[in-house]
Homo-oligomer: 343 residues x 2
DNA sequence: CTGAAAGCGCTAACAA
DNA sequence: TTGTTAGCGCTTTCAG
């Protein structure tokens, strides 16, 4: 339909796609005017705007954002880094982040480190190479070297799902230490006395159960038992961990799991061996994933507003990219304990 | 540490980052030679390679892939489009796709249509604008107009999770019709006579249960009951759907769910109301997600190798991008029925 | 409000 | 094997 390259002048390849020049020629304006019509339509006369709009429609022009990004040093690309997208917790954050960014004309690039720190550096390099307008770090422990590069690249960074005292740049999360304490207090308040923790082997989880165990002891309870499972946590590892836990000490009357999926595993195993929840064993999860409310019994868990984290991260980055200074660079979204049947 | 722009010549901004020119100057070679050293190291003398490598290390140079992509018309970017990443099924495909691409130096851009067709066009535009080396379409129904644009843009496309007779370009999936038939035959073979279907309201799911119901009738069974739930399917919708199903017809003795999550909902509801699985009700899922095997009872389900789909899609696109022609453009990965306790 | 010139940082074409 | 030159397609300066 559209004319293929016909001019046998000489030299380079040309991708063959319609360019802004083609549009401009058709609209009988200079390329820069066509550019303005598309990017800042209110700085162009209505008539010109109309002509350009028509030309775009007629040619099926799609702006080359690579070229635009190169020229303007604004890529409208945002990178997100997660250990694995398959883990239960970060998914909603990524979902909302993507959606919020798309609504503003930004795209998300996804990177997975796979819980292997060495991948992190390579990934970071690939990401920086794209000159994204921002990077969202989710649930990862970044090396000092990685922080360096990020800082050096001058790319806005949002760390999420945590509240570190020394953020690289911006931060949206909540206190894992507070979560641990609150859960210990909650279970103690419900009359539970022999607590246990089942936790993924990541750093954040460690901080939660560290605080949990400390708080339990401070409340006069015996040191809670601890079972660690490899991250990402699964239903299967929850079942196995409960077996292990009960084999070591059958008197446990409450388990705090580091994810709802783990808790579902505990629920499943309890059911399989006829252990009554919550009568004999109270079970608490973490995350308040979608399924938590509909389990039987309903899962008592720590609610984290994963979507809000994603949205706030998007807001942070877009603000920065548009040149608006971000007043408050740290947002604590908090958490809450949702009491349902399992505890 | 590194020198900021000092030359007060005139004109443009310069991003401030280290460029290939800086590296080349330091290594005392021409920029193009430095480029070769980085991209095709074997076409450069060992000595030059060494000098360039050193210069890169000393400057902390990170290639600008926007510029590279613009010049070479190869962005090393691949776009994936899913309805929502939060749905249970596509996650593993995306995970493997990302991982496989990263291993080859490609990055993934994620786009969500949110089950709204109008979003699809806007998203497509944003994607095409990045000039990706490929697009992976997962679980979406693309409009004729969308197909047009994709074709016109000349970007390699891989459709996944399906086997359409008229692929846009490349295809990796399996037959949903075959799945429906196989499940009907399986349940019939296990002596089930009053079948039911619980399905998300997406097109693919409809094809599965269409074939399922047809096959059931062909086997001499009564027309299976059908309960439709909105996509994406959840545990909660599974519970609700079972209630609905039993209210309409309590004699049902087998349910085929259009996702494992839905099946988990059915299992949960059955347990809550003391309905014995599989004795009174056989439950089958779809997907064989990670948790399926560890449920109690274990979930009998249709196994789809979601990871393999992602890997094959990556292979397709990389082959194309590297200019190697793809011989077989359609791959049927098939499926299998995994028999566990629930049916 | 519109345009001419210059160049973002890189690599494909030729040469040498 | 290395270099020269000319752009990829867009947007920023700086003028009108």
């Amino acid at each position: 339909m559209s004319g293929p390259p016909a001019n046998p002048k000489r030299s380079r390849r040309r991708s063959g796609a319609v360019t802004l020049h083609d549009v401009a020629r058709l609209a009988e304006v200079a390329p820069i005017t066509a550019s303005r019509a598309l990017n800042t339509p209110d700085r162009v006369s209505p008539e010109v705007l109309q002509r350009v709009t028509d030309a775009v429609r007629r040619t099926g022009y799609v702006p080359n954002l690579l070229a635009g990004g190169l020229a303007s040093t604004r890529s409208r690309l945002v990178a997100a880094v997660v250990p694995t997208i398959a883990g239960p917790v970060f998914l909603q954050t990524i979902q909302s982040l993507t959606a919020a960014l798309e609504a503003q004309g930004y795209q998300l690039m996804l990177g997975q480190t796979g819980y292997v720190d060495s991948r992190e550096d390579a990934l970071l390099e690939a990401i920086i190479g794209r000159r994204p307008d921002g990077i969202v770090l989710t649930g990862i422990m970044h090396s000092a070297h990685g922080r360096q590069r990020l800082l050096a690249a001058g790319i806005p960074v949002v760390e999420t799902w945590d509240l570190t005292p020394t953020p690289i740049d911006m931060l949206v999360g909540f206190s894992h230490v507070e979560v641990g304490r609150a859960v210990a207090a909650f279970l103690h308040g419900r009359g539970r006395r022999r607590l246990a923790v089942m936790a993924g082997d990541d750093e954040r989880s460690a901080r939660r159960h560290g605080a949990f165990r400390q708080a339990a002891v401070a409340l006069g309870l015996p040191e809670p038992a601890l079972v660690t499972v490899p991250a990402p946590t699964t239903l299967g590892s929850g079942r196995a961990a409960l077996q292990q836990l009960l084999a070591a000490d059958a008197s446990v009357d409450a388990v705090f799991c580091s994810s709802d999926l783990l808790a579902l595993g505990v629920l499943t195993e309890a059911q399989a061996r006829g252990l009554a929840v919550p009568a004999q064993l109270a079970v608490m999860g973490f995350g308040d994933l979608e399924f938590a409310a509909d389990l039987h019994p309903g899962l008592t868990t720590v609610r984290i507003d994963s979507h809000a984290i994603g949205r706030q991260a998007a807001r942070f980055i877009v603000e920065r990219a548009e040149g608006r200074p971000v007043a408050e660079r740290v947002v604590d979204l908090g958490f809450s304990i949702v009491e349902r049947g399992s505890a």
